[in-house]
Amino acid sequence: MNTFTESEERQALRAAVADLGRRYGGEWFQRKARGGEKTTELWTEAGKLGYLGVNVPEEYGGGGGTIGDLAAVCEELSAAGCGLLLMVVSPAICATIITRFGTDEQKQAWLPRFADGSLRMAFAITEPDAGSNAHKLTTTARRDGDDWVLNGRKVFISGVDEAAAVLVVGRTEDARTGRLKPALFIVPTDAPGFEYQPIEMDIVSPDKQFMLFLDDVRLPADALVGSQDAALMQLFAGLNPERIMAASFAVGMGRYALDRAVAYAGDRSVWSTPIGAHQGIAHPLAVAKIELELAKLMTQKAAALYDSGDDAGAGESANMAKYAAAEASIKAVDAAVQAHGGNGLTAEYGMGALVAASRVNRIAPVSREMILNFVAQNTLGLPKSY
């Protein structure tokens, strides 16, 4: 039986990151988002302190830590109201895949910049006509001499405008069978033929969503990550950390909303006692606390399993954690808005913006429904409907 307390170092990391996050905070974050600005200062500072590269191996200048450590960083910044969405993508998915499957040259070229956060790499899998169905991906890479030529469309890709490169999930044709199989390519955002357009979203966030257009994007041979045959493994290696990070991001968001609501309910008084004394206000906040703690615990379990090398065990827990964290964050934000009354939807209190932001947690990076399908089929052994 493992212990349910984190190591001293993990706790110290949380405390240090929380301190940094507090200095920026939710008001700063929303001001930046509403002003169409980025959160580059926070990203840069967190990167220099090694917080964004905790999971990158030490030999490449990283912290030599784990996904659990990275998830703690993600959660604490989010809990301070200034979560960095690209942490879910850049260090968690991209750095993990390159660390585990990249060639030596690719590791040398990219990992040191993940280590200090000087590089952001977006991740592109979703396509307009494929959605959650990875088998229908149509972005295709064709061999031309030593080069690869990519064509395809991607949608809902986060932070492309802030990224130096995008890790694109495409497919290559098997020379022998003619079948298409997945392959991952590192595509610089300034590559000729690569274009991106923002998708207007009703979400207050400095990190934007994009459509990608790849038209005859010519890439050198070493743009393919690792070997052509390992892509499915690569995807799975990257998607567990993604889910763990998404769960941490959501738990942090819920904690932020709950903290604000507790402060408000403890202070605001319209009869003889603060409104937090009324059970109609207090109980939903207590429920939110319990559900956030449960989601956090499952997230820690998923991270612990992943970090111990149990990819299959981590897959189930990571999905469950992501589900639980999304639901808990939505509920916490809802309770927080309600506790604030009319102030809950003013720009000043910043709770209203969290309604849409927390709602994203139920959809991305994998929808609630796809997680339920996964649990129904893989855990419960029920028949597939699709």
Partner: protein, 261 residues
Amino acid sequence: MPNIVVLVKQVPDTYSERKLSEGDHTLDRDFADAVLDEINERAIEEALQIKEAHDGEVTVLCVGPDRATDAIRKGLSMGADKAIHVLDDALHGSDLLQTAKVLAAAIRTVEDVDLVIAGNEASDGAGGAVPAVVAELLGYPQLTHAREVTVDGTTVKVTRETEDGLTHLEASLPAVVSVGEKINEPRYPSFKGIMAAKKKPVETVDIADLGVDAGDVGLANAWSTVVEAAPKPPREAGQRVEDDGDGGVKIAEYLVGQKLI
């Protein structure tokens, strides 16, 4: 290569409500979150900057109960090299004179100290005298309320800032420097710093190791006593000024009424 000792104290977080124990009016340590005092973070930062410019070694020195280990680890994770933790139940309730005596005794155990750096006052006791008393006990010059510190060979120069203005001080090493709020912005511990902190040596000593007599320390032997304590009265509701285009005038009238302008 200056050998620097930084005095650090674990205090109740200023963000949380702070309280004295009912029985003996000492700090109720269970009541509030305990943190490394922010002014000490600035003291550590200054020591680290001096170390980065001149090499040398930084030792953090803390007198405090068991859980003060957290404050010590934070100092080590920021980049200090080692630590001395004076841990002894007999110290409970010691006042600043007694604490200064223990600190001075502990500093004497460090070989070839060049510089002792402290915060100018702790956020809990706010006595603001420990650095001066320690300097006096050690026979070192004291350069207090520093907003700028420069070490040059065997001398230290300090810009001292108080309400009376700026004073430029210079002393030969070894010396005691206490720093004010404006000295620097303390760094956050890096991930590598956090991971390295656990492996750094922390020497735990009791007062017998330091040659301090138990009859000289602790609440019963303190030079000062807290006779009575009352919680701070709640803040009164402020006066709200509606701005109908004459907000500035109304604020000015209020300030005149309070004899503030």
